[in-house]
Amino acid sequence: MRSLLTPGKLVLRLAAGLAVLAAVCAACAMVGSEHVCLSEALKGPGQAGGVNPDYEILVHIRLPRVALAAVVGAALACSGVVFQALLRNPLADPYILGISSGAGLGAMLAVIAGFNWTFLGRSPVGGFAFAGAMGTVWLVWWLGRLAGRGQMTGLLLAGVVVNAFLSAIILFLTSVARSEIVYSTIFWLMGNMTEGDFRVIWVAAGFVLAGIGVLYLLAGGLNALSFGEDDARSVGIEPARTRLVAFMAASAVTAVAVSLSGLIGFVGLVVPHSVRLVLGSDHRQLLPLSAVAGAAFLVGADTIARVVVAPAQLPVGVITAIVGGPLFLVLLVRSCRGAGGLR
């Protein structure tokens, strides 16, 4: 029965994944539009009156950015796993239930209102985006419950409807708002990795890690739910409670990610799939390993985005789509061949 996951196997795979992630982060921190000399950087911040550019770029610009990309990538990949399990739909991604348009609307309203106060040195746009995302999640969940027994279908439909409705509002605001508001919102929505404050990243990382922890504890339930609600109940999982907690945790984790970095697509769709094709659907390893893979993937994609047309920067979402799409296709074809032609 060697296909069964053991704690030993999980720890080993996780350690290997984290080692790869660390290597990717280290490599990407050394790459950028400017050349940074490591030995110069290690001399520390500049003396009085001067600034050590190598140190500043490495420590205050690159490291926060790499850390942010890792946190966001882990969050999106992990919640992608959960949404695919809950909706039993391999095409689900974290934005399918309206989080994207909710966050976008929140961000846009913050920009329009022109708030000048800051929280921890950040503009309130991120906070409003988070509030918009969570508000939309509640709305979609509540609407989905009205559907009765076919709750997951109801949830999906509610998500599509709410997404469409909020997107229409965003379009309307875009057409009447002043142009700099429109531009600001568009650039924010396209995905950006410009957080510089380590404390914010640390707090966000804490929430994301806690969310992943919650979801890991539900992994057995998610496994059972993959077989359907009735089967899950027969083996002792309470489907409604597991679904609710998993849904809320995954949504909160996604909302944190979106509030930090805007909407970055493809990570939540491609990474869980790819990991699942290689390692199978046991959520006890799928969740943590997808998080690690998502972190590494987004760090790499972000590095490409800021280097390939330097000194300009591409939106990260462009790279995740261009790289993620074909990669996923290759994995899919290989797995279809491996499974003895069963489609």
């Binding site: 296909s3 002792g236 489907p239």
Partner: protein, 262 residues
């Protein structure tokens, strides 16, 4: 004598005014094998879903081991009742061993991993259902009949006193049909397993079941010992089919001939 499953005036309908089951009352003794038969739409699957708590009662009561089924949490009920369902659709990404191990979910440790006892139970279940050979193959790569045996193995690995099965032999070949029913019967004899199995095969129901519950939808129901319930008149009344009766090794056998069969 109180049965391990007691059904008292059960009613249920999917749509208002169209009850599928009405006023059903019977009890299942501990360690007995009850076969549930009836035509399509009579409510066999519905009854099993109601017994395991998947559907909510609309009238009457169902008691499992003395407690109302609605009072159990999913976790506690899973310690009493294991279910094998009719659909054998495949779920991608899980191997056979992983699927069977899922039955032990309630016993997993703090970090969600199984113990040696769980592994042993799974091992035994795979051996008994003759699915050891595909233990590490993906579930989706098996045939329908092989998958059905895997789901039976999963229910057995759950090690519960009650086993509910919905047409467990419908996709199996002859050898495995007999094999699975022998397995259930051995469980009943050796471990006091209580089995409630829905089936289309009246003769297997008669040969393996101690008691038979024949559901007829609007025509009502019959419950009792196998020989008393499985008669030509009952079959005519509930199924609307004329059957010929014969004797094989001293027990009645019912054969449907139809208009053109010989």
């Amino acid at each position: 004598m109180r049965g391990i499953i007691e059904v008292d005036g059960l009613s249920f309908g999917y749509r208002k005014g169209e009850p599928v089951l009405a006023g059903l009352t019977f009890s299942v003794g501990k360690g007995s094998f009850t076969a549930v038969v009836g035509p399509n739409g009579a409510g066999k699957s519905t009854l099993l879903s109601l017994l395991c708590g998947s559907l909510r009662l609309q009238g009457g009561a169902v008691r499992i081991d003395g407690r109302a089924v609605g009072d159990y949490t999913a976790q506690t009920l899973a310690g009493k009742v294991a279910v094998v369902r009719q659909e054998t659709g495949a779920v991608h990404g899980f191997s056979v061993a992983q699927t069977v191990m899922m039955a032990r979910t309630v016993h997993f440790g703090a970090l969600g991993f199984e113990s040696a006892a769980d592994r042993q139970a799974v091992h035994k279940a795979l051996a008994e259902t003759d699915t050891q050979a595909f233990a590490d193959r993906p579930l989706a790569s098996l045939s329908g009949g092989e998958r059905q045996r895997v789901y039976i193995a999963r229910a057995m690995a759950q090690e519960t006193p009650i086993l509910l099965l919905d047409e467990p032999t419908s996709s199996l070949d002859l050898r495995h049909q007999v094999g699975m029913l022998d397995l259930l019967k051995a469980g009943q004899r050796d471990r006091g397993l209580t089995v409630v199995a829905a089936t289309h095969d009246l003769n297997l129901a008669g040969r393996y079941g101690d008691e038979v519950l024949m559901l007829g939808g609007p025509a009502g129901y019959e419950h009792g010992a196998a020989e008393t319930v499985l008669t030509q008149e009952n079959v005519r009344r509930f199924f609307g089919v004329e059957v010929a009766a014969g004797l094989v090794e001293g027990r009645r056998v019912l054969v449907a001939v139809g208009r053109f069969g010989r």
